[in-house]
Amino acid sequence: MSGSGMQSLFGRIQTKAHQTASRMADQHVKLAVTGLSGAGKTAFITSLVNQLLEGNGTANLPFFTLTKEQRLVGVRRVAQPDVRLARFAYEQGMEALNAAQPSWPVPTRGVSQIRLHVRYKPGQGVSRYLFDQSTLILDILDYPGEWLLDLPLLGMDFPQWSAFCTQQMEEGGREVLSQPFRQAMKNLDWLGQENELQLQQLAEVFRQYLSDCKKHGLELVQPGRFVLPGELEGAPVLQFIPFIGEQAQMDWQHIPSGSNLALAMERFEQYRTKVVKPFYKAYFSDFDRQIVLVDCLSALNRGEQAFDELQRAINWILKSFDYGKNSLLRRMFSPRIDKLVFAASKADHITPDQQDNLIRLLESMVHNARQDMQYRGVRIQTTALAAIRASNVGQTQYQGQRLSVLSGHDLNGQPITLYPGDVPARRPAPTFWQSQGFEFPNFAPPLRDPLTALPHIRMDQMLEFLLGDKLA
């Protein structure tokens, strides 16, 4: 009797020790999904979660070692660590994709989070002999891409920001768009007694200008909360405007207190310290891996200025990740991101033979930032992917030539078959935009069996590059 009692006690201790050891071997990865609005972050995260959940079933992941070697035990969504945040709307997204008339997941309007437990059998190393199973904790954060553009504001003061805005309002299509705002500005006496109501009205006009820019596909919209305020709708911290006018005449050291200018400056400062900084501090620190999604095709569609602004916005954001120069950011983004993927999203919107060009285009867009990161020892991969593949490739004869074509459904659900056009390998010359331009299509999500995994392009290779070593 006592012998068996001892035995069961011993067995229990053994299991306990085993559990503790397993817990110690568990790994934690925080994946940063970076991208401007419309780059496909939500669709990407939905697809990533779907591929992992279906990893043992219908997911087609030939390049993901974990599933290739059949070491994936299972994936489960668990309670997220930060309960103040919204839950990532995976189920809703899948519902939209599985509907009889499939639609894309609704874009994010706030911050949401998802945590996955990936249970797997270790394939190599010491842990292989110690434990039969390990668990990788994967945290992914979804947030509006508009807010990402607030990041460069951390490195600017009010005069610099005003100068930037002034300069920006003179560029291309923005000159027309900013006309109402600049007109309204003329009534404001910057150095006069502060008038909160007038400032609020002007801020409203400024916001209108920013939303107009966004509607015209211009990506460089700052401050991001002006177009997507989230929980700050109506708060005074969003009621400020840049100083438009002759900066040289202004004595920035001696601003009369109680003036409109002083109020705008104070609110700008508050926006930086009370809105932007805490946001990034809370959610953007200690990432391990990063993927930067860039929608080059839509920018090409929208024209030269939109393309240039996209390029500038991305490089600007990436420069904020530049740990070397800015000590403030160095603290926030500890250089723990050791692997980074630049991904041109929506690779299913072009024919396969153009993918190489798309990758080259993206590489040329982030060329400098890439070199700098590589110098810092970050491992970088540039790729073209489609989180959810919405088109099929076929061949046809067109004017006596073999032509690759795409077939799918447009956003109204009508079937279309087309050759979407070539992708330039680098930024096209100004004359090109005037003479030809681009018209890459928009596809609706594919019709499919809801029980199967989402079709994709290169999600498996992205998973392998970003998570493969953690799941070894």
Partner: protein
């Protein structure tokens, strides 16, 4: 038509209809709307593909002067015998005619076999060329003819690879680049062949280790190892569909030894230190066991080198076979042998 405009060769005709055709870097094709009925199937079937892609690129190689000398001798001999045969017919010397006919048959057979050897030699040389090509494809981010290339490789693979080949073909997607196609090919078709070859190597290594450990004569040791190694090379060649003749085998052996001597020098150093570190391990073995282990490791090294030569593509995503892993297996088997009674028996036999 605007066919006469000077234009880049890469762009198809639809581009010429647009106004920008004169600017080569900006000459991008426009979107084209196509009626969906005109679209044909996504992929040609495996058989169709085969018909397109069975032409093989030819690698050039130089045989030695001895080969030509031998060939010349054989040809001259054949001619001489032909003349003798004719003369015998003229002189009605039936005995010499019979002899000549016999010799002639033998010579023709020899010529044929030399020719066959020559073909096989060429094919082996071609492997190197294939490996170079595969290396090129494995680094290419574009969509080119890696699929056709893999299909030529598949055609050379031995029987039994067809199912793997079909699985590979089924897993292909239109958007895969050359690199991805080749990686999938390695994963789906090469990996099973690798596994078979490695099993073969470890079996032969264990066998030769065990044989050395129990064999009583030194001369017999050498013969045994030689026999085992030749057998192993045959088997490895079978795994990758390399047809071996005598000449190819000799060349393969020569190449294997050469790569082991030159390219393998650093590897040898690394391993030697590993073995030195594990000195306590060898110390625990008897002399015979140690000799056996040495022979086993040598066979393994030999086998792995032969594998690398026979494999039509280099190792891309899959990891190269590790000698230490196979050697560990050999050691385990030897230990089992030592615990058995035969080991001590043979030991006495040798000392006697």
């Amino acid at each position: 038509m605007t066919d006469s405009t000077p234009d880049i060769q890469l762009k198809p005709r639809i581009l010429l209809d647009t106004e920008v055709a004169e600017q080569p870097p900006q000459g991008l094709r426009k979107a084209v709307q196509v009626p969906s009925e005109s679209v044909v199937s996504e992929f040609p079937s495996l058989e169709e593909d085969f018909q397109v892609s069975t032409s093989r690129p030819q690698g050039h190689s130089k045989p030695g002067k001895w080969f030509w000398l031998l060939l010349l001798g054989l040809l001259l001999g054949t001619a001489q015998l032909g003349v003798t045969l004719w003369q015998g017919w003229q002189a009605l010397d039936f005995l010499s005619m019979a002899w000549a006919a016999l010799l002639l048959t033998l010579l023709i057979a020899a010529l044929l076999s030399v020719g066959r050897e020559w073909m096989r030699f060429r094919r082996l040389e071609h492997r190197e060329h294939l490996q170079q090509l595969a290396l090129g494809y494995s680094q290419s981010p574009a969509i080119g003819d890696a699929k056709d290339f893999c299909q030529t490789l598949l055609a050379q693979m031995p029987r039994g690879s067809e199912t793997h080949g079909q699985r590979w073909h089924a897993s292909l997607e239109q958007h895969y680049t050359d690199r991805e196609v080749l990686q999938l090919f390695e994963q789906q078709v090469m990996a099973p062949a690798d596994k078979r070859a490695l099993d073969e190597i470890s079996r032969e290594a264990s066998a030769s280790a065990a044989l050395i450990a129990v064999s009583p004569f030194v001369l017999l040791d050498m013969l045994l190892v030689l026999w085992r190694n030749l057998r192993m090379i045959n088997r490895i060649c079978d795994c990758y569909g390399v047809k071996t003749g005598y000449l190819t085998k000799v060349i393969l052996l020569k190449k294997t030894v050469r790569t082991m001597l030159y390219a393998g020098a650093s590897e040898l150093l690394a391993e030697a230190s590993a073995w030195a570190l594990g000195g306590s391990l060898t110390a625990k073995l008897s002399t015979r066991m140690a000799q056996g282990l040495g022979a086993g490791v040598l066979t393994t090294r030999f086998g792995v080198q032969a594998l690398k030569l026979c494999r039509p593509i280099p190792f891309i995503a899959e990891s190269e076979p590790k000698i230490s892993v196979i050697a560990a297996g050999v050691l385990k088997q030897l230990r089992g042998l030592e615990r058995g009674p035969q080991a001590s028996d043979s030991k006495e036999g040798r000392e006697a």
